[in-house]
Symmetry: C2
Subunit: 204 residues, 2 copies
Amino acid sequence: MKNLSKNQIQRMPIYLKYFKELVDMGQTLVSSPQIAVRLGYSEEQVRKDLQAVSDEHGRPKKGRELASLLDAIEAFLGYHESKKAVVIGCGHLGRALLNYSGFPAMGLSVVAGFDVEPRQSSSAKPVYPMSQIKDVLPTLHADIAIITVPASEAQSALDLAIEAGAKAIWNFAPALLDVPAGVVIENENLSSSLAVLSYRMNQR
Amino acid sequence: MKNLSKNQIQRMPIYLKYFKELVDMGQTLVSSPQIAVRLGYSEEQVRKDLQAVSDEHGRPKKGRELASLLDAIEAFLGYHESKKAVVIGCGHLGRALLNYSGFPAMGLSVVAGFDVEPRQSSSAKPVYPMSQIKDVLPTLHADIAIITVPASEAQSALDLAIEAGAKAIWNFAPALLDVPAGVVIENENLSSSLAVLSYRMNQR
DNA sequence: TAGATTGTTAATCGATTAACAATC
DNA sequence: TAGATTGTTAATCGATTAACAATC
């Protein structure tokens, strides 16, 4: 498998979703021009992207097999082996992510939450007190810690999660966090997204 | 002002946050090497980025004035003129964003929510029935519609918002949406972020 | 066959990095 | 002065786009 650029990786779930729609509509083949038009990419880029994750060749004049593309992208994204995560900080956003119905389709299973003071949860998922994370997290086999605590507590929440065995951090707190070597972090930065949105608004 | 790349735009709020921390700590000047080390960028990139938004020159051996940097970045990001937004779809995520305390610091004021069936809201912000959007939205002077409805309803929610006068869409629904020319859209795609995270996890 | 689409190879474009003289 | 940091200019790198022969 080639090394994919970050942009390419980010496009993969978008292809996947679109291809699933096409399959639902009964289509079995798809061509780069069709994809390019719908997704707003160039044909060449579509071909490069798909070649990067699939070894199967397309057929001139026809396109590519949707079934094999779905399989290739899902394999690439690791949707076959379900990943497990916990949510740390069960405020509004934390509870939203704890119960988010879109995750299972991404191969992500959010198994529990942690909170400094867990209220009676309205969800089916258990919410443990933060003080128990070191005992409980290892029993859950969750590699990913989703950080949804206030920015001021994010670093200490992260440290506790890593101490308890988390291997990856998905950070939703607006804070600049340090992670030890070997731990992966992905920042979900709303201020960056908003910056792009308002820049584009001002360009008009 | 030069044209900034998307990456540069996304970095600006990160600089801003860091610079505010430095000011809080009593610092008045900052050098590119210091920034580069803390944020994990290269010195050259830091200089390029700051030169792109600020006309003030730095001083050799000293660095740059934090006060003027803050001002330049905030001006660039439009934090001075507060932008207004409404949340469409007041489920878990929608309510989280309706009450998100981080937005004011980004110059964003979320003034109201809409929902097909507004429950008694626990928040200070009003939640209107979706059926009233065409009448209510224009009175709110909100340009930005934050879409947090289920994917299956996202396109029709977006269409209603635009019909009611929204000029920009911040989409949190996992759906591929069409917008008319002249309307800006920014997709907050959790599946793309997760893809990057798990790709990095697998690389180890 | 003609035409659409493919995969490959080359060209372009843009962002990041490197080099270096200027300056406080 | 020496040394750190600056801004500018050039080089590199990587991603996207273009060109085109191959093929069903």
